[in-house]
């Protein structure tokens, strides 16, 4: 038998992207840090000799850029993992985490929180609840409508409910104070990590780690779940409960990242494809590869957002500029295989 194709080169590329993203994100910016200084700061932290590192450099690395780098990595990984899971579950490579209304539900929650002048934690909590409610509604409607193609019904329901929540967002923006609240909402809806501090990391790490762990634990079953429903059941998978578990886990990581960074589209669509081209469609490899690559991808995008212009460019705009041509290319090549 021909030996199995090794996933090592693919993983090596994904890890290289992540390392490049980390180094760039920590060194490049309004206050440039040399590579030598970066290494010095890191070794000092690990108990090495302190050398000649200025406190300003240390503070830039640990206080200013550190939390933002962590958040970018986690949000990128979360969106990529959720996208990978949804694409497999819906047997459709054109699907992304936004599809079940998770993003628009979370968005409505967040703008409501801003409108009611709530604190940061409360806004995150409401965004989170909004995402889960939207997915809950989509799932209930999608599964109670009788159809020969339940997946299509679910996806279409997601689109419709998503646009309803989008209308809700529009209403809240219309009612909002145009001087204090509206800019904050707009800023948040376009996606940004610029305000991320250490205190934002905890509510992000927990849900992302938990959801990702569930998905990775189910990786072998997810291969089977990407087959047509009846085949999966004939192979011995109780598809109903498993689908709920996967949707819940993927929604959890999506909501957590939307609550922290706002709406950052396209990552969940683009990264799973790139990861699939690196390591193949087997979820046992694809999920970790997607997570690594997604972290690196959003780090690079976020560094671009910080440095490309005098003012910060919202993340959602950059990801859309990259994502739209990618999606069109994907549509054009949809008949080819997805290896």
């Amino acid at each position: 038998m021909i030996p199995a194709r090794s996933a090592l080169p693919g993983f090596a590329i994904a890890i290289a992207v992540l390392i490049a993203g980390l180094v760039l994100a920590l060194t490049v910016g309004r206050y440039p840090v040399s590579l030598g200084d970066l290494i010095g700061v890191l070794t000092a932290k690990l108990g090495g000799p302190r050398g000649e590192i200025s406190p300003a450099v240390e503070s830039v690395i640990w206080q200013v850029r550190g939390p933002r780098v962590m958040a970018a990595m986690l949000v990128g990984a979360a969106l990529a993992v959720a996208g990978t899971a949804f694409q497999g579950l819906f047997r459709n490579p054109l699907v992304s985490p936004d599809i079940l209304g998770a993003s628009s539900g979370a968005a409505l929650g967040a703008v409501l929180g801003i409108y009611l002048s709530l604190g940061v934690f409360a806004i995150q909590a409401i965004a989170f609840v909004g995402g889960l409610i939207a997915v809950g509604i989509v799932y209930m409607i999608g599964t109670s409508v009788r159809s020969r193609d339940p997946i299509l019904v679910l996806v279409l329901t997601g689109v419709v409910i998503g646009s309803l929540f989008g209308a809700g967002v529009g209403l809240v923006k219309y009612l909002a104070d145009p001087y204090n609240q509206l800019p904050a909402m707009t800023f948040w809806l376009l996606g940004s990590l610029s305000a991320t501090g250490v205190h934002d990391l905890l509510p992000l790490v927990g849900p992302v780690a938990a959801g990702t762990a569930v998905l990775i634990a189910l990786r072998w079953r997810m291969n089977v779940m990407s087959l047509p429903e009846e085949e999966a059941r004939a192979l011995g998978v109780a598809t109903g409960p498993l689908r709920i578990a996967i949707v819940a886990a993927a929604t959890l990581v999506t909501s957590a990242s939307v609550a922290t960074a706002g709406i950052i589209g396209w990552v969940g669509l683009v990264v799973p494809h790139l990861a699939r081209s690196l390591v193949g469609p087997d979820f046992a490899r694809l999920l970790p590869a997607s997570a690594i690559l997604g972290g690196g991808y959003l780090l690079l995008i976020d560094t671009l957002a910080r440095t490309l212009a005098q003012v910060e460019i919202p993340l959602g705009i950059l990801t859309a500029v990259i994502g739209t041509p990618f999606f069109i290319w994907l549509l054009a090549s949809v008949q080819k295989n997805w290896s």
């Binding site: 497999g88 079953r221 089977v224 087997d282």
Partner: protein, 253 residues
């Protein structure tokens, strides 16, 4: 061990497809399900697999009601070979066959060395080991059918149910699949398959089950059941029978 449907009413949520159906399949035996399009073949197949719940009557396996078993238990007893289709993701042939081992592990299980060995044996058995690392999306229809057969056998089932295993296959591959079906029965499995070609039933099956409009038209040993008159009644179309020293063949006329 017997797989049997007892007085089945089959159908979907809002539509009844067939009523009063009795089916019986022993181990080591091949049963062919014949009938016109829309006659209920696939619905009956899925009901016997436990993928559809019967509206009335019950499916029994080894004397116990099929629905009393978990999805996983069922998959270790009955395997399903669906019609070949183009897959969404380009899993390797080996990965597809390995999926046949799903029911032998628990929810979080990863394939064991034994699972990989079983999959490798099945690839060898069907002569598709050289394709093991090829994407399932990049092989021919005939090869795909063999991969799905290998996957079903990797389940190590007692019964195997095939939905039109010869559809979309060229002439040579049709013969190959028929021979494989005979061998499966010879190795002790109970085999149920649907087909549009009475000659395939004649060649590979022990018994035939003729289904028209959701009702059983006839059932019994193929040599007795498959006659020109019955086939004309079954399909509502003229049929010619050609017989020579080597056997009988039907052609639509």
């Amino acid at each position: 061990m017997i797989l049997e449907g007892h007085q089945l009413t089959i159908g979907y949520q809002d539509r009844i497809v067939g009523t009063g159906l009795d089916v019986k399949l022993q181990k080591g035996e091949v049963l062919a399900l014949l009938g016109p399009n829309g006659g209920g073949k696939t619905t009956l197949l899925k009901t016997l697999l436990g993928l559809l719940t019967p509206k009335a009557g019950e499916v029994r396996l080894d004397g116990a009601v099929l629905s009393a078993r978990t999805v996983r238990e069922r998959a270790r007893l009955i395997a399903y070979v669906p019609q070949t289709h183009v897959a969404t993701f380009a899993f390797t042939v080996e990965a597809v066959v390995l999926m046949g081992r799903t029911a032998h592990g628990d929810l979080f299980a990863r394939p064991t060395a034994k699972d990989r060995q079983v999959a490798a044996n099945m690839l060898d058995r069907f002569g598709i080991a050289p394709l093991a690392q090829r994407p399932y999306t990049m092989i021919s229809g005939g090869e795909r059918q063999l991969v799905l057969l290998a996957r079903a056998l990797a389940q190590e089932p007692q019964f195997i149910v095939l939905d039109e295993p010869t559809a979309n296959l060229d002439f040579g591959n049709q013969g190959k699949v028929m021979r494989e079906i005979r061998e499966l029965a010879a190795s002790g499995l109970g085999v149920l398959f649907t087909t549009h070609d009475p000659n395939h039933a004649l060649r590979a099956a022990d018994r035939a089950y003729l289904l028209r409009g959701g009702e059983r038209l006839a059932e019994g040993p193929v040599q007795q059941i498959l006659t020109r008159e019955r086939l004309e009644a079954l399909y509502g179309a003229p049929v010619q029978m050609i017989t020579d020293a080597t056997g009988t063949a039907f052609i639509p006329g």
